[in-house]
């Protein structure tokens, strides 16, 4: 008699992600997907700094980029669906793991001396929640439209049009980041994202089973550099745009 049971890929994958290690790996993989997005999203947005093309106007490049995305539904919706999936799985499984971890230590130590853990590592659930709420706000701000006026900015910013009749992304950014409040909010949230990604990049290799005595330290250093570059790139947008002369909405 053979012990071979029929191959059921769904069962196999569900069992795997239901286990402690499978859940960790799912959090790591969805984290990597979001990582890819964060890089692409930053690179796209940095086009706000591109100069006017000959015979064009300031902001035309990022407006054209916005128009390109909106008129390429396969790319737009492909990315959106992948990200929504990744975000829900990441939060869901991270939440499940965090709850189990809390339950595994019901009584606390009167005295606990940490030796290796870092602050960024310890606050992962908090930084994650703040980043999650920020993503929601960010979507209302620039994609869906704010349901109420916030610091003088309303959903009107989604109606701005440039000379080509495209959505004027450039003006939307200048109006938003003309408000210090928005600059402060984006700064704080991006710093929390930085903290989340620092522990994430240190962790992800280990979780995925890649630990090597020479490569791992290099990968970690590169991780740090990448996170720093992302934070600098993202934060440059509100700060530089804020320094432009004010603009009427």
């Amino acid at each position: 008699m053979s012990t071979q049971t029929s191959f059921n890929p769904f069962r196999l994958v569900l069992d795997f992600f239901g286990s402690s290690i499978g859940a960790k790996i799912l959090v790591a993989l969805t984290g990597v997907i979001m990582w890819g997005f964060v890089i692409g999203h930053m690179a796209g947005n940095l086009q706000v700094f591109l100069p006017a093309p000959p015979d064009g106007y300031w902001g035309q490049q990022i407006n054209d980029y916005g128009h390109f995305l909106k008129s390429t539904p396969a790319l737009l919706w492909g990315t959106r669906i992948t990200l929504i999936g990744a975000v829900f799985l990441h939060i869901g499984f991270a939440f499940r793991l965090t709850m189990k971890n809390k339950a595994a230590r019901p009584s606390r130590y009167a005295m606990k001396r940490s030796q290796k853990s870092t602050v960024f590592g310890k606050i992962m659930p908090v930084s994650g929640i703040v980043v999650g709420l920020f993503i929601l706000f960010h979507l209302f701000h620039f994609t869906i439209g704010l349901p109420v006026e916030v610091m003088g900015v309303s959903n009107d910013i989604l109606q701005y049009q440039d000379q080509a009749g495209h959505h004027d992304v450039y003006k939307m950014l200048r109006v938003s980041f003309g408000q210090v409040g928005f600059v402060a909010l984006y700064t704080i949230c991006n710093l929390l994202l930085l903290m989340h990604l620092v522990h994430g990049t240190q962790s992800v290799w280990q979780t995925l089973g890649l630990n090597h005595k020479s490569w791992t330290p290099i990968a970690r250093t590169l991780g740090w550099l990448l996170v720093a570059a992302i934070a600098a790139g993202n934060l440059s947008i509100p700060f530089v745009v804020m320094s432009y002369p004010p603009i009427a909405p």
């Binding site: 994958v13 286990s19 290690i21 595994a104 230590r105 240190q202 962790s203 630990n211």
Partner: protein, 253 residues
Amino acid sequence: MAERKMNLTLKVWRQKNKNARGDFETYAAKDISSDMSFLEMLDVVNEGLIEGGKEPIAFDHDCREGICGMCSLVINGQPHGPDDGTTTCQLHMRKFSDGDTIVIEPWRAKAFPVLKDLVTDRSAFDRIIQAGGYVSVNTGGAPDANAVPIPKAEADLAFDAATCIGCGACVAACPNAAAMLFVGAKVSQFKHLPQGQPERKSRVLNMIGRMDQEGFGNCTNHYECEASCPKEIPVRVIAELNREYTRAALTKR
């Protein structure tokens, strides 16, 4: 090093039994020699308690030479105390100074319930080992030791992992009370040896299955386990565990 005498204040976790609420009691440890081990210091305190008609402090110990893994105490917030790569029984009082206050607690984890005072029930580890932490050797003569070639580098990796004494300091130190350094050590030890190959997949699947049932937490890569392990087992074994489990779970028959 010349012997010193010191007077210490101990804050010790006392708990009547598994279901009782525990609390800290303060004791004076007088005239302690710097040459004593930490457990010998506790023996002296206990003699005093017994002479005074009081219940001595219950703590686990067996070999007192750093190999059995019984002496599970969290000392000043660190499993096995402040010294690196040392069990409590091998910790010397010369690491402390006259007048110090020392806080002594049991391992704290849902999977390691406190039985009395500083003694915890660590049989969850035994059940994980029973689930797969072995190689099956059926009857027959012992094979010649050199008949199975093992490259030196692989043997070293296996041996690093095999030094685990199952004390549970990794669980005690982990912010999530995870047992992944312990399970990883066993899985890594056998993974690197030819004798471990026949049960390679079932071992990791069964051990992780049991580990999850026992109520341990999950590694979030803080590496407190590695820092507190008296045998300095590296977190490399957790990466190996993750890889081994993934491979086995997705290709099992």
